[in-house]
């Protein structure tokens, strides 16, 4: 649920007491019309708070925690699980890790291989990060619990996952239902970065390195299969589109 405008004004006053709205918008890159509209409606988007926080050097997660519904975010004692960390590594990076491990014996620069892998990891929010994150923390009943707790229909929840989207409050509800740290979903949706969420730098790489070969191969295989399905669907849609345009355009 977006943040109430009144609380937002109070928070903004605290973080940028003597700055005009115009300057806030200029510094944070939030469009003036967007902010004005959100204030008029009385609902300010979480992304607005994040952008303004970054512009004024505040931690976005702590800023969100200022608001009542996100109070829980202040407590960052629960660290992300290894599965969560690995879920935020893109499919291509996982496949690269599989190849790097299989090639360690023959590669001429063995000592440099892990170093190269470390540098190569893409950003945490990747093309399928939201679904992968939920898969990583799902005990089999998670989706039902979330849809009951957040009042969201199961098929809508699935559609969000497939579209690699999730509203921040649903992400928090998902974390709560799974009993993991509350920032995981915010990182997976790309609302905040892993550093802002308090994840150790290199934590994802460390979790990946800890993963046994077999587990990594299975996970990479699952991801590759899902990727293949998505690509095939896109290709089919493209084919169908071409045919419609060909015949009726």
């Amino acid at each position: 649920m977006p943040l109430p405008a009144k609380a937002f004004q109070r928070w903004l006053h605290g973080i940028a007491p003597d700055t005009s709205t115009a300057d806030v918008c200029r510094l944070s890159g939030v469009k003036r019309t967007t902010l004005a509209q959100q204030l008029v409606r009385g609902k300010v988007a979480e992304a607005t708070v994040v952008s303004i926080s970054r512009a004024f050097g505040a931690n976005p997660v702590r800023s969100l925690a200022y608001f009542e519904i996100y109070h829980g975010l202040a407590d960052q004692s629960i660290l992300p699980t290894p599965q969560e960390l690995v879920s935020q590594i893109s499919t291509v990076d996982l496949l690269r890790a599989v190849i790097a491990r299989s090639g360690t014996g023959t590669a001429p620069h063995t000592s440099e291989a892990p170093q190269a892998g470390l540098l190569a990891l893409g950003p945490a929010a990747h093309a399928t990060s939201v679904k992968n994150w939920v898969d990583a923390i799902d005990d089999g009943e998670l989706r039902h619990r979330v849809s009951a707790a957040a009042g969201i229909a199961p098929q809508n929840y699935s559609a969000q996952l497939t579209a690699n989207r999730m509203a921040p409050e649903v992400a928090i509800a998902t974390s709560r239902a799974a009993g993991v740290g509350l920032t995981g979903g915010l990182v997976a949706t790309g609302l905040v970065t892993e550093a802002e969420a308090g994840w150790e730098p290199g934590a994802r790489q460390a979790a990946l390195d800890m993963m046994p070969d077999g587990e990594l191969a299975v996970l990479a295989g699952d991801r590759l299969q899902a990727m293949g399905k998505t690509l095939r669907r896109q290709e089919q849609d493209q084919e169908q589109t071409d045919m419609i345009l060909e015949n009726l355009g």
Binding site: D237, T241, L245, L248, G249
Partner: protein, 247 residues
């Protein structure tokens, strides 16, 4: 009101036909131009003024109305085949182009001709209103004649409807899903026209609304696809232009 609806539809359909002329010259999808041109002609024949002029030229025996029915049949037949091909609807294509579809077209056409022959069709009047009002026998014949004329378009639309609804729910690009929705609404309107006899005379304007809604939906649905094609064509041109510039 009805007049405004009729002329708007005529203009929209005529504009859609004109927009296909470049394709006609390039010999691409020519049947779509003919379909839209036939639909424009059909609308023209359904409006009182033009109808009286054209029927006058044909001898004032409402031959223009018979012509109108067959123009609609032709337009819907070719349009149906195009749509079924485009949306990859093999079942629909078989239902329209296969033996069953052609047999239905033949039976309905013969029925139309026979009913027309048995009617006393002297005196031009759009929609054969004057013939309908002449006497009991002509009234019954006109009703069957009208029903036969609506039956074939309804059959084609019914054949295509499942594929349209599937396309609406698919993961295709939004413009194509919207045009599938428009085609589906048009199809449903055409199918509803089968029940025109059940509409009380006081609500007679409904028949016009349903008919022209159907045509407008088809025209706008096709126009959306045409726009998507124009845009796609421009993109590929950009791309080839860019790669040519690079090399």
């Amino acid at each position: 009101m009805i007049e405004i609806l009729q002329w708007t539809t005529l203009i929209a359909c005529g504009a859609a036909a004109l927009s296909r002329i470049p394709n006609l010259v390039r010999k691409k999808n020519r049947s779509l131009f003919y379909v839209l041109a036939l639909m424009t002609l059909a609308i023209l024949l359904s409006i009182q003024g033009p109808y009286l002029v054209i029927d006058g030229l044909l001898g004032s025996t409402n031959l223009a109305n018979l012509l109108l029915r067959f123009i609609i049949f032709g337009a819907i037949y070719f349009l149906g085949i195009r749509i079924a091909n485009g949306f990859g609807d093999e079942r629909g294509l078989r239902l329209i182009q296969g033996h069953a579809g052609l047999a239905i077209l033949a039976v309905i056409s013969v029925a139309l001709l026979v009913l027309f022959a048995f009617m006393d069709t002297e005196g031009s009047s759009a929609g054969m209103m004057a013939v309908y009002a002449r006497d009991e026998r002509n009234k019954v014949l006109t009703e069957y004649y009208g029903a036969a004329g609506r039956a074939y378009p309804a059959y084609v639309c019914l054949a295509l409807l499942p594929a349209m609804l599937r396309a609406v729910r698919s993961t295709l690009p939004a413009p194509l899903r919207i045009s599938a929705l428009l085609l589906a609404i048009g199809g449903i309107a055409v199918i509803l026209s089968l029940y025109f006899q059940a509409i009380p005379p006081a609500l007679g304007y409904l028949t016009y609304v349903i008919n022209y809604t159907a045509i407008l939906c088809f025209v706008f649905g096709l126009a959306l696809i045409w726009l998507a094609k124009v845009r796609a064509g421009r993109n590929t041109m950009d791309r080839t232009g860019r790669s040519a510039a690079r090399s």
